[in-house]
Symmetry: C2
Subunit: 485 residues, 2 copies
């Protein structure tokens, strides 16, 4: 939790942003429903509590069962939550009062949790505009749908809150929140640096544990143990697999086998809930084969190119396309594709090898604010999302500004089902050399990811240390670590 001036300042700014919308005296209220516990197998055996991210950003309280309301006309703020009774003390220990928690974030008025629902209902009945953010969790969806008298799906989509006969999440509030959360404050960057430090420790533990004969699940446990020792936990379910061509592979039953590669995409969430997200691809034997190294080097060059290009003023969409060109250039040198680079970029040929975007925003969420709407978060008003494979999955296309935190994660994968689909359907317009590509059907995939902060004059990699990335450096690290143990 930050000092109270941070939360006071954020709410003040939000009030200003929202006062630029609607009509004076008729702006209504902005409501924030925090998360409740999420049952794992039964109520009472809950997943580790994770607060709703925008609630955390504006109201700071990292506990279940809170709500808060900002009156956009009067500027009044009320936080809602319940004080504990003797049963709670026996099971959960003595707790500060809700009023004193309000004090920590500069809110003077607090009230019991049920008051939140009464206040929203009262505002709605009296015809005031009720601004709420799109909900992710089912509980929040149910409660908001019932309070607002709209279908559950409307709670998850945004539309104008003023003068709109259809009740949905508020586009005005969503845009205001996105505009603030997109540009990270100094205190946030400090926390992201900490999360990156934990991510570095995770990946270092993984590299040290990556040896022939070890089960993938064993390595995952070592990595996740680090995140729980040092932070809240993982910022997303760890991807760790020798089948790196499967982008989000969560199965870890295989044994580390010489000759294969291990793709690890994992990050930590700090105790204050800021994320890191790194990917490295390791040679299981400690040394890449020449064939692996050729592809690896292309991906590493792409990662470096994005780092060189990322700077204020350039849309990240253009960086994605520059990386696609670089990648196709490398693949062409290996005779895997053929044609003019520009033509191949235009036809989206890179998408067969990299069917995902170059990166995404990162902050309190690893895909920052994805719950608020991917396009609202990742696209400027004058950009539209492409339909091509790869570019169409780009989550962050915006013109970069200082304070943006984004990932730089190119990859090359050989996905047998996708290759045969393209071949069958002629999607490549003759630009893919299938005879050559088919020699890579058992290759797997490589992805290399760092986290970048856009600065005044370029960008910097987040975290105090960088994980080894050059093929030689990775092999040297693994050689020295294998000696050590």
């Amino acid at each position: 939790m930050f000092g109270k001036e941070i939360y006071v300042g954020r709410r003040k700014r939000l009030l200003e942003e929202m006062r630029a919308t609607g009509n004076d005296g008729r702006r209504g209220i902005a409501v924030f429903l925090g998360n409740v516990e999420a049952p794992q197998n039964y109520r009472g055996n809950d997943y580790k509590f994770r607060q709703e991210s925008s609630f955390l950003y504006f109201w700071g309280i990292d506990e279940p069962g809170f709500g808060a309301i900002l009156d956009l006309d009067s500027g009044d703020e009320v936080m809602y939550g319940n004080d504990v009774d003797i049963d709670d003390i026996i099971w959960m220990g003595p707790q500060p009062s809700v009023a004193s928690k309000g004090g920590l974030i500069g809110v003077d008025r607090t009230a019991p949790y049920l008051g939140f629902f009464e206040a929203v209902r009262t505002a709605k009945v009296s015809g005031r505009t009720v601004h709420f953010l799109p909900a992710s969790r089912y509980y929040n969806t149910m409660m908001l749908s019932s309070l607002m008298g709209c279908p559950a799906e409307n709670v998850r989509k945004t539309g104008p809150a003023y003068g709109n006969p259809e009740i949905t999440a508020s586009l005005e509030l969503t845009r205001a929140v996105i505009s603030m959360r997109l540009i990270k404050e100094a205190c946030e960057i400090e926390e992201i640096d900490k999360a990156c430090e934990i991510g570095w420790l995770m990946h270092t533990a993984a590299r040290q544990a990556c040896k022939p004969g070890v089960r993938e699940q064993d390595i995952v446990g070592k990595m996740e143990g680090v995140t729980i020792s040092k932070g809240w936990g993982v910022s997303f379910t760890t991807i760790l697999s020798q089948n790196g061509e499967t982008l989000h592979n969560h199965s870890h039953h295989q044994i580390i086998t010489p000759g294969r590669m291990l793709l690890i995409d994992a990050g930590a969430e700090s105790n204050t809930h800021y994320a890191s997200d790194f990917t490295r691809t390791l040679p299981c034997s400690g040394k890449f084969t020449p064939k692996q190294r050729e592809i690896y080097d292309i991906v590493a060059e792409c990662n470096e190119l994005a780092f060189q290009l990322a700077a204020p003023g350039i849309p990240y969409r253009e960086v994605h396309l520059a990386v696609a060109a670089k990648m196709l250039d490398g693949l062409k040198a290996l005779s895997l594709v053929n044609g003019h680079i520009d033509d191949m970029v235009n036809e989206g040929i890179a998408g067969m090898f990299m069917p995902h975007g170059l990166g995404h925003n990162m902050g309190i969420d690893v895909h920052d604010m994805e719950d608020l709407g991917e396009d609202l978060v990742g696209y400027d008003d004058d950009q539209t999302r492409a339909s091509q494979l790869g570019l169409g999955s780009l989550r962050m296309a915006r013109r970069l500004k200082p304070g943006h935190v984004i990932t730089d994660e190119p990859g090359i994968y050989f996905v047998p089902a996708l290759i045969s689909k393209w071949k069958e359907e002629g999607t490549d317009k003759g630009m893919v050399n299938y005879a050559a590509v088919e020699k890579y059907l058992d290759f797997g995939g490589i992805r290399l990811e760092d986290d970048l902060l856009i600065t005044e004059d370029g960008c910097r990699r987040l975290g105090p240390h960088r994980l080894p990335i050059a093929a030689d450096d990775v092999e040297a690290a693994m050689a020295s670590e294998q000696d050590r143990t």
Copy 2:
């Protein structure tokens, strides 16, 4: 996952149990809605998937987005789930078809996921009885409430399914499922033994890491890393605190301090989702103080007594009361209480020191089947729940039978808020010696827990090894481990 004969056999038995209810030809259908992904901070960034436990028990498939229906009249079985498309293959890898998954559990008929909802709606519209189990997750609650046309709270409570104008979860189905899941099969006991082995490794790692100057969170990470390396994860959120008097303490920011004790209540869930649950209380310095050891020895004797008494035929409620008597006897010898033991037991004096029950059922859930209703699971038809503090929290009161798996977890705690409440309200009827008890206000708490399988002639402790429990053994283990590192 077990062999298909296990699942076929369980459904056959369930059909028989259910055929003993209702009228021939009018029994309707039993529906099982599996879990979907649970969003952590946004949809797509989900908590680690956990299947609904009864779905897992009867239908075995450990993936989101499945449902199944057992026709109680025709005996027909259908499992519902979606096959993957090319996008799924890119992100999640090639997957076996739903039909082939049906084959793994002996179900011939499979259909797309939406078919589940259509089939339930059709059965309901045509006047057939639809039996469903109480739901825990909000998604399942929403879906069943909408399908069945009943309020959400009715989806979470049980009532007769036949001839009941009020729609609720089916008492008949719930009872049938409980009767089966309460008595563990050999294949289940094998998995619980595995979960106990992981639990032993967790606690061993914790004991080795428990040294002055270490942060509690560091130890939690080491323990949880073990569970993820070897199993699915923790079977419940780890309780690890030097404030052991707080029964479910999930805050781990304190530094291990000589003179205090560290209470660790933690267990593992195996890859097949069976639980273990152990508690040990360690001296932070490696040696108990004489005052700590006096209380510790009473708790250890209580743990042993429950193990000696637990056998077929005795209600676990009686074991709880015998433990309460033993505990009061020990506390009396320390002059903390005074009075006849029987009087003190009857007045519930033990509840001030142990405000929880002696144990609970354990299986696929660490509190097994808590979602199906604590009293239906833990109480025989001729038992009612007490209102006394402690005994009133007893989750397992039933007459023991071979195949029951239960925990044995006595504890003594000094909860300042509770002690002053009792003193103020005179709850102890003069039997507590507050002048003595108040010397323990900074003592904390001790709990010692093992997992027991009721056998034909008594019980055995689950897991291949037992964690050290005698105070001397704990100190000896810590001494040798502190030398080692």
